[in-house]
Every structure is written in structure tokens, then in C-alpha cells.
């Protein structure tokens, strides 16, 4: 029997407080003391202001793929005779702690499907990612407020899509109804709050049914992979679509499914660390080769690569899985308001009118 609880709006803080003692709790919160300012997933500490009402600016990937992660540290010891015989002492990264993400939306969790396919179920398993992934539970909020930029339904998701989530949260007028979907999430709800009464339960179920029927966004992504391949050579198509692009890293850094990273050794005399940090295919240095040649010298090739990676390369490689979760963050944050739906939408038409 599914375990359900109802958290009244005014008791939310105390519940979160309690929950954070049991497990590392991450919630969407304001990053700046401005109600309409940027938000992101932050580890719960008393005093931060939650921001459940809208999609976060920064994606969930910051938790599973931090912007900067020390893979290993190394230290040379010189033997006294001065010859450079050195030994290297490595230290393994600290163990990942059990974590609960409370308040992510379905598109956030949907993105993990792509990340899992690459980092966990692909030919090379990333130990750092997998360790964090296994230790993280997701309490996903059924999405009530979608806006003109969202299109999760067109990429296989939906406002009520609970794939990969362990708990479901339904936002009611006066509070939140939390229902455990998987067994290992049930102990979490123990003695948190009392079970919901019947009317709220039914209301929640109605809302969930409604949400799962709702179709968000109308982007047609059917066989966009071959369509992309036809457009690949047509430079003027890309020029007409994204000439205004600034080639900055915003769209890739706010995108939940962009996972590219760069590894550098930052050394200082005898010690150093191997650092994994976010990188963006929109940067010139991303594909700059030692010879000075750059296979993607201009922003048009780079944007083409970004679209291709999500709507062509991943689908062809991972049996039709799309590398995009339809959250619309790249559209909202783009300094020049490029809409990826337009670029993908026009892939198919043979004449490329705006």
C-alpha cells in the first residue's frame, strides 16, 4: 500500500528541517535575495528560501556532475639524493553520502535518463557519477506551471512523468501530498507528517491524471536524426537559424543533459590534482587542436554540433533516446533568445523559411 503523507504549506520548513537530519537534502532555492532571481538546487540549510513555484535556472546536473570535481590528488616525494626518483601518493575521492532531491520536476529527472545512458549504462562506466547516482533519491514534483518555453511532452517526457523518481509530490492549494513510489523511499516518509485525508487524496489523484494527459509543447521530434543529417551540409540553413548566436556557454551550462567536461592537471611544485570541470562545445577551445586547426572554427558549426548531438548522434547511438528533456532552459537563458525548437522544427522542411 503506497505510503502517503500530506505536508501543510506552513509546516513545510519544519518537515524539510527534519528530513535534512535523516539524509542530505537538496531543494530548489533562490540563489539571490530577489524573488524573481536565479534559482538552483542547493543543499538544505535553515534560512535558505525554497523556490518550488518555478523551474530552477541551474539544472539538477550540478549535483551529479559538479562544475568542478577533483578526480585524484597526487604528491611527489623526492628521495634525498636529489635524483628525481619520485613516488606518487594518490588519495581516492570521499564516499558519496545518501542524498534526497526534494522538489525536482519531471523534466529534471527525465534528463537523468540521458546521463545514465552515457555515464552508467554506456561502454565506460563513470565511477564518480555512478556512486552519486546510486545514493540519490528523487522526490519529483508533478509539474503544474509549464510556460511557453517548455516542451517536455515532445521529447518523451511529460508534466507527470515519474520515470526515475522515487517519490511523487503533488502541489495542492494548502500543501504538498507526497507519495512514495518505491519501497526504499518509504522509510523516509516515516513519522514525517500524517497521512492525507480522503478528499485531498482524490484531489491529488485527479490532478495527477490531468497532468499526465496534458500535452506540453508541440515540437515534432519524430525521425529528426535523418532530417539533421540532410541539413548538415547546408551552411546557409545554419546561418539563417543561428547567426545571432554569441557562442557563449550559457545554453550548455544551464542544459540538464549537456554533460561535456574537460580534465586538466592543476599542479603546484610537487603536488597537484586532476580536475574534471564543465566544458562547452560552444567554446572555441573545446575543439581547438594542438596543431592550431579547429574542426569547428565558427559558431555555426558549433551550434550545429549541439543540435546534432542531442537530436541525431544520441538517438542514433542510444536507440532513439533524445539528448534533450524539453525543459526550455536554453531558450529562457539565451542572451539572444535563440529557440532550439525552431532550429529542430525546421530540420525537416526542405525549404528553410523562418
Amino acid at each position: 500500500m503506497a505510503v502517503k503523507i500530506f505536508i501543510a504549506a506552513d509546516r513545510l520548513d519544519s518537515v524539510l528541517e527534519k528530513l535534512s537530519t535523516k539524509i542530505d537534502l537538496w531543494i530548489p532555492a533562490l540563489l539571490k535575495d530577489d524573488k524573481s532571481g536565479p534559482t538552483g538546487f542547493v543543499q538544505y540549510t535553515p534560512g535558505i528560501t525554497p523556490a518550488f513555484d518555478r523551474q530552477t535556472t541551474m539544472p539538477l546536473k550540478k549535483l551529479l556532475l559538479p562544475q568542478e570535481e577533483t578526480l585524484l590528488r597526487f604528491k611527489y616525494q623526492k628521495d634525498p639524493e636529489g635524483s628525481l626518483k619520485t613516488t606518487i601518493a594518490l588519495d581516492d575521492p570521499k564516499e558519496a553520502r545518501p542524498t534526497l532531491v526534494f522538489g525536482a520536476r519531471s523534466c529534471d529527472v527525465r534528463a537523468l535518463v540521458t546521463l545514465d545512458r552515457v555515464f552508467a549504462n554506456g561502454p565506460y562506466v563513470d565511477p564518480y557519477y555512478v556512486q552519486r547516482r546510486k545514493n540519490t533519491l528523487f522526490a519529483t514534483l508533478v509539474c503544474g506551471q509549464t510556460d511557453s518555453k517548455c516542451f517536455c511532452s515532445s521529447v518523451g517526457g511529460g508534466p507527470a512523468d515519474m520515470e526515475g523518481s522515487h517519490l511523487r509530490i503533488v502541489r495542492l492549494e494548502d500543501g504538498y501530498l507526497v507519495e512514495a513510489l518505491s519501497k526504499d523511499a518509504q522509510p523516509l516518509l516515516a513519522d514525517l507528517a500524517e497521512a492525507p485525508d480522503k478528499s485531498r487524496d482524490q484531489l491529488a489523484a485527479k490532478l495527477v491524471k490531468e497532468a499526465s494527459k496534458r500535452q506540453v509543447g508541440d515540437l515534432d521530434t519524430k525521425d529528426c536524426a535523418p532530417a539533421f543529417r540532410n541539413r548538415f551540409q547546408q551552411n546557409d540553413y545554419w546561418a539563417s537559424m543561428v547567426s545571432q548566436c554569441l557562442s557563449c556557454g550559457v545554453c550548455t551550462y544551464v542544459c540538464p543533459t549537456c554533460y561535456c567536461f574537460s580534465i586538466t592537471d592543476e599542479t603546484r611544485n610537487l603536488e597537484g590534482e586532476r580536475l574534471r570541470s564543465w566544458d562547452s562545445c560552444m567554446f572555441y577551445h573545446y575543439t581547438l587542436e594542438a596543431s592550431g586547426h579547429n574542426p569547428r572554427p565558427t559558431k555555426l558549426e558549433r551550434y550545429r554540433n549541439r543540435v546534432g548531438h542531442k537530436f541525431s548522434y544520441i538517438p542514433e547511438r542510444y536507440e532513439g533516446l533524445l539528448g534533450c528533456c524539453g525543459c526550455g532552459r536554453c531558450i529562457r537563458s539565451c542572451p539572444v533568445n535563440i529557440d532550439i525548437r525552431q532550429v529542430v522544427g525546421n530540420l525537416k522542411e526542405n525549404s528553410n523559411e523562418q
Partner: protein, 324 residues
């Protein structure tokens, strides 16, 4: 009033387009926002628009990659470009530094009554649900699914516009619409925010920048949006040769990144505010450059992007100035 200006713009562009290589302007892509557009054929001229929602500074497209590595052929036709007051100063700055010649551009100057900062609109209205938005004599009228909101334009203007001294283009071939009286002429209003932060004690200023820059994700949108950051593809912030910065995302690295951006713009920045507008983390980075602009104005009596012949102050010297 906006309507007549827009028609006048369309008419002027139509006349000029045959002589132009292309026309850079804005087009509406969202009730509250515009996107730059590059027009080469007559039929898409109608998509051009102007007004308070046109916030991007288009001057960068003339010089930044890929234009950087494809210098214009001597007989190349000029490029048409729409510029507001602050954007026009960017053009003058580019001419000053010989990135473009005056003949390279056909400038359509548009006196500007201030641009709308969508973040401030978000404080009044749920952005996602906005159906249409328009400005009627200094009032922003927004319809969303349920109600019509009327917000005074003054409430939602971008921060840079509040102290604007150059609403009218300082350089233009064609002027679209009537001139606008500057909101302030003195330094007090245009550097009000700088003075406010300067008045705080040192520790508080450090704490302010630590907390603001802690949010920075080093996405370099501010650098790539800046019309004067022409060397964005070879920026020392990213290169390992020479190695100024590591890939760490600690506060020191972000401090140094913003120091580098500010010092490279010292005496060049025209205060167009793009860096702040594009920051996904809403960090007031233009404030940093405004402080240096204030120093340049106080110390050397110099403002960038006003006189095409002037030499940026840090690229020259005056043996006599012992008093600075």
C-alpha cells in the same frame, strides 16, 4: 508613436538595402523579447522592429568571430545596423580602435527611451503566461491568460538606462524618430550605483562581490556579449598558454576573471550594459566596468565612444600629467 517609427525604419531600410551587404536589426521573437536578425532580402524587412524591448547591442556582430577572421574586401558594400544611443557609442569605440572604418557601416540611429529588463517584469507578472505586451506612452501593457497588467515603464527599465546620458545616437547616417532628452547629464546620476557601493565599508564591499561572484558559472556570456571583446576565442581566461587562470571555479578564479574583463575594458567600455543583461546568474557585472569608467572620467576627463578620433587613455600618455 512606435508604429510610425517602425514604418519609417522599414522605409529607410528598403531604400538603403540595395546598397547594403546586409542589414542587422532586431525582430520580435517573444512578447517581451527580441532577437537580432540579419536581413539580406527585401521581403524580410517587415520583421524589423524597434522600441523598448530591443535590448541587444548589435555592434559586436561587425567585428566578433566569424567577422574577425574575414576582414571586409576593399570594395565590400557597407553593412546597415540599427543602434540605440548606447550601442552607437560602441560603434564609435570600434572606429576609434580601427576594428571597423566609418564607411563600413550605414548607421540607422534610433533615439531610445530606455530598454525593458525582463527580470524586473518577472517581479510583476508570470513570464511564462504572457500572451502579448506593448508600450503605450511610458506604460507597459501586458496581457496574460487571465488579466491585463499595466506597469509604469519606469518600473521595469534596465539599470543602465536609469542614469543614461546618451539616449540619442552619437553617430548615425539616418535618424529614426524624434530625439529624446537625456535623463541625466551629470556624473552623479549615471554613477549612482557605483557611489552607493563605494560608500559601504571595505569588508561589506568584499562580502558583496564574494557573494555575487560566487554565483558566477564562468559561462563567459558577459565576455561574448561585449562588443569590444573581439578576442573572445583567444581569451587568456581560457587558454593554458599563458596560464593566468586554472579551471577551478572558486571565488578567486572568478574574481580574477572579472578583473581581467574589467581591466581590458578600462577606458574603452561605453556602458552598454550587455554584460549584465546576458548574465544567467543576474550578477551586476556592468557595475565593475562603471567604476572604471568613473575613474577614467574623474582622472583623465575621458568618456569612451564619443569621439572617433580620440585615443583610448591607457593606450597613450601625457608626460605633463604629474598630478594624477
Amino acid at each position: 508613436m512606435l508604429e510610425t517609427d517602425r514604418n519609417q525604419l522599414h522605409k529607410c531600410v528598403e531604400e538603403a538595402l540595395p546598397e547594403l551587404d546586409m542589414m542587422i536589426g532586431w525582430t520580435r521573437c517573444d512578447p517581451l523579447q527580441t532577437t537580432p536578425v540579419f536581413i539580406r532580402d527585401a521581403k524580410s524587412i517587415s520583421s524589423l522592429t524597434l522600441g523598448p524591448f530591443c535590448s541587444q547591442n548589435l555592434a559586436g556582430y561587425l567585428v566578433k568571430p566569424p567577422a574577425l577572421d574575414a576582414p571586409p574586401k576593399p570594395d565590400a558594400k557597407p553593412i546597415g545596423i540599427c543602434v540605440k544611443g548606447c550601442d552607437s557609442r560602441s560603434l564609435v569605440a570600434l572606429i576609434q580602435e580601427k576594428f571597423i572604418t566609418r564607411q563600413r557601416v550605414r548607421i540607422f540611429g534610433i533615439p531610445c527611451g530606455g530598454t525593458v529588463d525582463w527580470r524586473k517584469v518577472a517581479r510583476h507578472v508570470e513570464l511564462g503566461s504572457v500572451k502579448s505586451a506593448d508600450v503605450q506612452d511610458r506604460v507597459l501593457v501586458i496581457e496574460d491568460s487571465t488579466t491585463t497588467h499595466r506597469i509604469a515603464l519606469e518600473e521595469v527599465l534596465s539599470r543602465k538606462c536609469l542614469g543614461c546620458r546618451h539616449p540619442n545616437p552619437v553617430i548615425s547616417d539616418v535618424l529614426i524618430g524624434a530625439e529624446v532628452s537625456p535623463r541625466s547629464t551629470g556624473m552623479e546620476t549615471s554613477y549612482r550605483d557605483v557611489d552607493e557601493l563605494d560608500a559601504k565599508p571595505l569588508e561589506e564591499r568584499l562580502a558583496f562581490w564574494q557573494s555575487e561572484l560566487d554565483r558566477c558559472i564562468r559561462c563567459y556570456a558577459c565576455r561574448n556579449a561585449c562588443p569590444l571583446c573581439v578576442c573572445q576565442d583567444r581569451c587568456i581566461v581560457e587558454t593554458r598558454e599563458p596560464r593566468w587562470l586554472t579551471q577551478h571555479v572558486g571565488v578567486p578564479e572568478k574574481f580574477l576573471f572579472h578583473f581581467i574583463h574589467a581591466m581590458h575594458l578600462a577606458g574603452r567600455c561605453t556602458g552598454c550594459g550587455e554584460c549584465e543583461r546576458v548574465c544567467p546568474m543576474d550578477i551586476p557585472v556592468t557595475l565593475i566596468k562603471e567604476k572604471l569608467n568613473k575613474i577614467m572620467e574623474e582622472m583623465l576627463g575621458y568618456s569612451a565612444g564619443l569621439d572617433p578620433e580620440a585615443v583610448p587613455p591607457l593606450l597613450t600618455f601625457n608626460p605633463g600629467e604629474t598630478e594624477i
